[in-house]
C-alpha cells in the first residue's frame, strides 16, 4: 500500500477530485467499485413474460449456474416498454423465495403431518386414484336414458397462471376421461 500523505485526507481528496460534493466516486470503497451487476455476470439471459397479471409485460430472465439471478423488464416489448410493477420486479423471488417447495409432500388420511414421497410413487398413486374415482362416479346415461358418458368423481380448478399448452392437455385428457368439472380462475 502506498504511503498516505495529507492529500489523501478524505475531504481534500474529495475537493481535488471529480466529485467535490462527495456523492459519487469520492465516497466509494474498493468493494463498491468492484461490484458488478448480476446481469453482467450472468451465464445467459432469455426472453420471458411476466407471470402475474394479464398485461403481458416483457421480462428478461438472467441466470447463472442453473439459477435465476435477476429478472428485469424488457425494453423491446411494445406493451410494457421495459417497465415492471412491484410484482413483476419481485418475480426473481418467485423462483428463489426461501419458502419455495421442491419436494413432493404426502399426507395420508387422518394424519396430522406431511410425509415424504417419491415423485414416481406419487404419480402412480394419483393415476390409480384417478381411475378409481372415474369409475366410482361414472354416469352412462341420465334418468331418461340419454347418453352422458361422464364421471362426476373428479374435479379440477386452475390454469390462469399456467400455460396455454398446459391448459390444452388438461382439457384434452380430462374431457376424454369424461371429467366435466374442469374449472378455472376465469370463472372466479
Amino acid at each position: 500500500m502506498a504511503r498516505l500523505t495529507f492529500l489523501d485526507w478524505p475531504v481534500l481528496r474529495q475537493l481535488r477530485g471529480a466529485d467535490p460534493t462527495g456523492r459519487g466516486s469520492a465516497v466509494t470503497s474498493a468493494t463498491t467499485r468492484e461490484t458488478v451487476p448480476r446481469t453482467v455476470t450472468a451465464d445467459g439471459v432469455v426472453d420471458s413474460i411476466c407471470p402475474y397479471c394479464a398485461v403481458g409485460c416483457g421480462q428478461r430472465v438472467f441466470h447463472k449456474d442453473g439459477r435465476v439471478v435477476q429478472i428485469e423488464g424488457n425494453p423491446d416489448s411494445p406493451v410494457s416498454r421495459g417497465r415492471l410493477c412491484p410484482k413483476g420486479a419481485a418475480s426473481q423471488q418467485l423462483a428463489n423465495s426461501y419458502l419455495r417447495q421442491t419436494t413432493v409432500r404426502y399426507r395420508p388420511p387422518y394424519a396430522t403431518r406431511w410425509e415424504d414421497l417419491e415423485l414416481d410413487v406419487a404419480m402412480d398413486m394419483i393415476a390409480d386414484r384417478f381411475i378409481e374415482a372415474r369409475r366410482a362416479h361414472w354416469q352412462d346415461e341420465d334418468e331418461q336414458g340419454r347418453p352422458l358418458q361422464r364421471t362426476m368423481g373428479i374435479a379440477s380448478l386452475g390454469g390462469a397462471t399456467i400455460d396455454n399448452e398446459e391448459n390444452y392437455l388438461i382439457k384434452k385428457f380430462f374431457t376424454a376421461a369424461g371429467a366435466i368439472q374442469i374449472e378455472n380462475q376465469a370463472r372466479i
Binding site: 419436494t103 361422464r150 374449472e183 370463472r187
Partner: protein, 889 residues
Amino acid sequence: MQDFANADLIVIEGSNMAEAHPVAFQWVIEAKKRGARVIHVDPRFTRTSANADRHIPIRAGTDIVLLGGVIRHVLDNELFFKEYVQAYTNASTIISEQYADAEDLDGLFSGYDQETSTYDNSRWAYAGDPDDIARGLPERDETLQHPRSVFQILKRHYARYTPQMVQDTCGISPEDFAYLATAIAENSGRERTTSFAYALGWTQHQGGAQMIRTAGVLQLLMGNMGRPGGGVMALRGHATIQGSTDIPTLYHILPGYLPMPKVGQDDFAEFTRAIGKKEQKGFWANADIYAINLLKAWWGENATAENDWGYHHLPKLTGAHGTYQTTMRMLEGGVDGYFLFGQNPAVGSANGRLQRLAMSKLKWMVVRDFYMIESATWWRDGPEIESGELTSEEIATEMFYLPAANHTEKAGSFTQTQRMVQWRDQAVEPPGDARSDLEFMYELGRRIREKLQDSTDPRDRPILDLTWDYPLGEHGEPEAEAVLAEINGRHLSGERAGQPLSSFGEMRADGSTDGGCWIYAGVFADGVNQARRRTPGQEQDETAADWGWAWPANRRILYNRASADPQGRPWSERKKLVWWDEEAGSWTGHDVPDFPLTKRPDDPGDPSQGGAAALAGTDAFTMQSDGRGWLFTPTGLVDGPLPTHYESPESNIPNPLYSQQSNPTRVTFRDENNLSSPGASGRGGEVYPYIFTTYRITEHHTAGGMSRFLPYLSELQPEMYCEVSPELAEEVGLEPYGWATIISARSAIEAKVLVTERMKPLQVGERTVHQIGLPFHWGRGTEAIVQGDGANDLIGMNLDANTQIQNSKNNSCTLIPGRRPRGPERNELVEAYRRRAGLIDAEHPAVDGAAGAPGAGPADSETPHHVRGPEEASAAPTGEASMKEMRNR
C-alpha cells in the same frame, strides 16, 4: 393496450387500473399527454382516480343505471353516431310481437318462468320469415321509426334513466352525470373516440355480464367499436386468463369457444348447427369445420366421418357444472378427487369456509403449486381447525402436494388480455421434484393409458383412442412447441401433409386437416412459432404486428372494418385504421383487416351461400349471424336482451325502477352457511347496513399464492385492512390503525382500520350509504410470510346466471370495533347476527340461500332446470324455443 393512447376519452369503471394493471396504465397516461380526458367511476377514490380528470364515486352495483342514463342522454339529444348505428348495428331490426320489455312487465322480460327462475328467450327473437332470419336477413326499418325496431325499443327501455334517477340510484350528482355524458358525446363520432376499461368491478356482480353489455350498447351507439382508441377493454388479472378461456379449462366450452355438448345432443350435425348454421352470415357458419378439426386433433386416426369424428366420445353436460356447483357436490360427498393447478380456493373463492369444508369431504386432492398455499394446508392450520369444527385426525382427505415449475423453468405461451399470445423461453431447469404442469399432465395421462391398455370396457375407449404422443425433451418433458403446433393444426393429407395450417380458413371438414383450437390457427404458420416473434417495439409502428401473435390472424383490433365508413373510407384521417383500396381491390390498413379481403364495400352479399360469402360489404361484425353489432341480444344472454337495473339481493335499497328487486335469474345455493341478508326485501336487512366491496392492490396477486410467500411483496403490504370513511369510523366508533370486525351473513373477519376520505358516504335518496373497501389477498394458515383473515369468507356463493361468477363486489355487512373472537365464538358471533336478522330457514324461506329462494334450483335436483347457455352468443335468433336442459346443480 397501446391503443389506449389513441383514445380522446378513457372511462375507467369497475377497475382500479393504476393499481391492478400499473404497467398498462402508462398508455392511459400517454393518452393524457396527447390531450385525452380520463374519467374514473368507482366506489373508492384510488390511484386511478388520482390520475384522472375526475373521479365519480358510485354506489356499488348501479352501473347500468349510470350508463343507461348516458344511453338515454345520447338518444334523446340525437348525439349518437347515426351513420354508424344505421350501417353496423341491429338498430333497424324489428323484434317479434311476442317481445315485452322489462318496462312493460315491472322488471321482467317476456318469457319468464316463475317455477324455474329462467327465461324462454324465443320471445325475444327477430321478426320476419324464419328462413330469412336464419340467413341474417330479418325485417328491418332503416328509418328506425318502427315501434318494434330495436332503436325504438331501446329508447323506451331507457326513457326513465334520467339524471334524477341516476342521482337517486347511484348517488351521483346531476353535475357529475352531465360531465360524464357530455364527455362521451363530445369524444365520439368521426373525428374522436372513447374507450372503456373495466375489470372485476363489473364482472363480479349478479348481473355483471349485463353491466359490461351496457358499455357495449353505448359504444355501439357512439360508433366506438372496431376503431382506434375505442372499444371496451377487459383488464384481466392473470397471465393467461385470456388463454385459459380461449383454450379453456372451463366446464361449458371446448377450445375456440365451441360449447360442450349437452345431454340430448346426440346428433353431431345438430350439435354444430346449434352453434352456427351453414346459411347464417359470418364465420360461425363454419362451426362444423372447427369442431371436426378439434376432434381430429384429439382422436387422430380414430376420428372418422363414420364415427362423427369421435364426437360421441365427448361427455355431456346436464346443467351448470361450475366451480361453485362442484363445491356443493363435494359437500354432499359426490366428488372423490380434486386437482388444483396454481389455484388457492381456500382463500380466493367465495365463501372460503364452504370451500374448506368441501375439501374435507374429498377422498384425495392434488395441489400443484410453488408454495405451501392455504388450500394445501387447511387440514392442519385452516380457520376451521382453529374454531374446532374440523380436527386433522378426523379428516379423511388424502393430500398430494406436487411442487410446480415456474415461468422461468419451462417454455410455453401466455395469452394476455388483448388476445396476444407471447412465448416464454426456458431459462433454467426446475429444482428438485418440481415439474411443469405440461409434464405432470402428460405423465399422468401416459400412466393412466398404460394401466388401461388391456381394457375392453367401451368407457375407456376415449382415453385409449386419444392422440397422446408428444416429442420429449432431454429430461422427459413433452415439448411445449409440439403442443402449440397441435393447437395450431396441420394438413394431414395432400401435398402439404404435415405442414402447419396458416389460418383457420385452411381447415377442412373432410378430415384432411386438424387443429386443436381454430382461433389459434396461424400461431404456428410456416412452421414458425409466431408467438415468439420479438421485433423490438421501437423498430415498429404503433400496431407492433411483429411482436407476439394475436388471435385471430394476428389481428389487434376486432371488427376493424367498422373503422371505415360504409363506402370503405376511413371515418376521418385522424381515426384511420383499415380501409378499402379501390385500386388494389382489397382492404388494407395499419392492422390485419377483419373482413374478407377482396369483398367490396358495396357487395350485397350472397345469401344463398351463407358464411363469409353471405356478408354484405357493410356487415362489419363478422362473427354475428346477421353481420351487425347487437344493441339488442335476441340470443346469448339468459337474463334479458337489454341490460336493466336490479338491486343486489342484499341491497338495503328498494329497486327504484321496478317492484322486481333483484335479478330474477340469479343463481344461489341452499345451505345454512350460504345465507344472504334479506336486504330491502324483508325485515332484518338493517342488521347488515353497510356495503362492502373487494379489490386488489399492486403488491399482491389474487389469493396471495404468488405474493404472500415473497419477502419483498410481503414487506410492502403486510396486513389485511379495511378502508372506511371518517364518517363511518365515527358512526361505528373505529380508531385509525385499530381493529374492526366485519360481519356478513356468512362469516366474520377482522382487519386493521384505515380511515380515509377516499371513501365517501353517498346520498342515495333519503339514505346515507356507507361503503367499505376490502382487499382480498390474505388468508389464514401458517406457511405464508404474511397472513390475515380472508375477505372472501364474507362472500356468499351467489352467482350471475350468464357466467356462473360470484357476486363479490356488492354485499352487505355490519362493522364493530375490535378483533373478532377466537375459536368457536367466531361462529357464535355470526350466528347471533343471523338470528337478529331472522336468518333462520324456517322464518325466512325467501332469503337467498334458503329453501324457497329464487335461483336455488328446483327442489328435486333431478328435475332439469332450463337455462339457455351463454356460449351461443352468436347463434341465429329464431322463433323456436331454444332451451337447453341445464340445472344449477
